[in-house]
């Protein structure tokens, strides 16, 4: 029997890889991909808990996460395209107008 903690550890590892990805990549696309990764890590948690705590609610929540992820991708990519059109770049570092 696989202990719950294995899933949790796996999920944590994936999540942190995702965070590192958000922090270290310059391309918006990869940043967005890292966010997907993080969402998936969370999903694993949900499902694992759902299984081990014997409650179907966890799976329902994954369903919602999926919805949010889809929406996020749609808007995120749309923004990406808009940015690319205006700035001709997908480099996060160059997008720094939000300062003093």
């Amino acid at each position: 029997m696989i202990p719950l903690s294995s899933y949790l550890v796996l999920s944590a590892v994936l999540f942190f890889i995702g965070v590192v990805g958000v922090l270290m990549r310059r391309s918006i696309i990869v940043v967005l991909l890292s966010i997907e990764l993080m969402l998936n890590a969370v999903n694993i948690n949900f499902v694992a808990f759902s299984h081990y705590l014997e409650s179907i609610t966890g799976q329902v929540f994954v369903f919602f996460t999926l919805t949010v992820a889809a929406a996020e991708v749609a808007v995120g990519l749309a923004l990406l395209i808009a940015i690319y059109r205006n700035r001709r770049t997908v480099n996060v570092e160059e997008l720094d107008v939000m300062k003093w």
Binding site: V19, L23, V31, E93, L95, D96, K99, W100
Partner: protein, 729 residues
Amino acid sequence: MMTSYVLIPLLPLFSFIVVGLFQKWMRGLAHLVCVPLVFASFGMSLLAFIDVMRGGPINFDLYEWIPVGDFRPTFGIMIDQLTASMLLLVTLVSSLVHLYTVGYMHGDKGYDRFFAYISLFTFSMLALVMSNNFLQLFFGWEMVGLCSYLLIVHWYERGPATKASLKAFIQNRVGDLGFALGIFLIWVTVGSLDYGTVFAAIGEHQGETVSLLGMDVSVITMIALLLFIGAVGKSAQFLLHSWLPDAMEGPTPISALIHAATMVTAGIFMVSRCHPIFNLSPTAMTVVALTGGFTALFGATIALTQNDIKKVVAYSTMSQLGYMVMACGLGAYTAGMFHLLTHGVFKALLFLAAGSVIHALSAEQDIRRMGQARRYMPTTYWTMLWGSLALSGIFPFAGFFSKDEILWQAFNAGLLGKGLWLLGLVVAFMTAFYTFRVFFMVFYGQDNMDKEVKHHAHESPAVITIPLVVLAVGSLLVGWLGNPLFGTNYVHRFLQPVFHSSVSHVPEEHAGSLPALTATAFAGETDESGAAHEGVPMEGAPMEGAPMEGVPMEGAPMEGAPMEGAPAGMSENAGVAAGHAMAAAPHAAGAAGEHAGGHSRGLEMLLMALSLAVAAAGIYMAYLWYYRPNPAPAQLAATYQVLYQGSLNKWYWDELYDMVFVRPTMRLAHGMWRVADEIVIDKVLVDGVAITTRIGGEILKFFQTGRVQHYAMVMSLGICVIFIGFFLL
């Protein structure tokens, strides 16, 4: 009927309101309103005077002014003998000055305004003297100050007038501050501001002290001194004197009315009014006497060398006020008041005459550029002569009687009194000298007038000369009222109820307590100062040859309560008062008896002759030096350069005040504003907080790179810190 006396002050107030509101449409006709009303006021004062003489004091309240808890000061009217005599003086001089103004101010741009103000002044002065409590006294006190201010600044376009007005108001305010503090202390001590209550109760607080700069001072002394500070300001006594000469920037009628006859005497009036308080404090009395004496000398020394005709008269006013204050300080209130009344008449005359000269000589005020003026203005010449004689104290003019009265009282008042008597004699000499110096320089001497001025020189019109003549006659006659030699001393007889029964205005039902309190007043004096001066007022009686009746209490409350009545009254009053009365009664009787003796009369005659001689010497010296051009004064001035310059420059008090008060204050104000307020508080402290915030923001803004990954990184760091903290703790 009695309440109708409220009209005495209200008539001038009414004319002020009418003229003030409709000034624009008056067009030089203000006198049609003011003059009749002020004469009506004078008439009513006469009625009141007669009423008081027959029926005793009148005292009633109009309404409560500031009713708060126990503090219930009123506007009220009290006419006792003291007030009645002041009323006559004020309304008489005011009426005459109103009349005089019609001629003097004719054609002036502010003719109507001027009338409005002198009406307001008359109202204020009447409110002051007719008050029955300290707060209304203060009301009148400040209001007359305001009127004085407004009238000094009448010709506001002249720079000096503006400055003089400022000076007058502020110096008066300093005095008023003392006065106000005195009132506060009275309230705290006695719990009332009503004259009757205060004077009745003040004796019970004799032992109490307040601490002042670490010293314990008797509360009564403190009250007396604080009140006296007010008198110093208003009556231009030494230290707060320098506004009075400067106030001569105002038109001459107000110099006569306000700065000679009435307002400036308010201080003496107030001290006399508060004599039950002053009597209880020998310390305060000494201070008062010394201040008065010194002021008399001080004013006289300056008057010797002044060249502005009005300034000379102004300094002489100061000097004469000093006399009166001195008299009060020696407890000779009657003498002080007598001199106040006579001085009011002849000084008003002198001012008005001087004004007439100025008016005739196209506003020339420098006596060095006058001379031989008698040729152009005989009436003015004669009236001024009478005024000068009165001021110099020449028999039989008013000044002679009143001044000698004061000197006689001083002579009888112990060692201090003897010193002051000597001083008074010196001042009398100086007075005679400078008065006639002016007189001779103006009316005789060398004709130094400008051609242009001489061309226009003329006798003043009747509206000006009539008041002069009236006052001249007055200055001849009024002294006889207080004549100690022939007939009755009416002034003493009339004022006696006031100064002998400090609570003459207390309603009838309290009459029983009067003798005891009277005796208290006596006792406070005789015990402390040890002088016999209060015995003096009774000397009018011995003259009459009716020793005991000679304490004729015409005032109703005292009726039937002469000396033998005193013990009866006393028995009803236990406590300290009774004890004092016991001690005082024999003394008073003794004093009366002593003066019945012939030797004091002979002495008095001798002293009179002496002072007359001194005055005559002063006049003669003036005659020698100034009747014809004479180089002697100039030589003398050159020899004693220091003294001459000192006197000419008023002993540099203006400069001193400028250096000690005015400049440092202004500099301190500017400095404090620039440094403390603008820089330290505003810029450093208040704006400093804002600037610090801003600097903080300026530094922190560099953390806001606008790059989302930096933000995320910082966020991660935060999480990291939380984690580490979580695991470590």
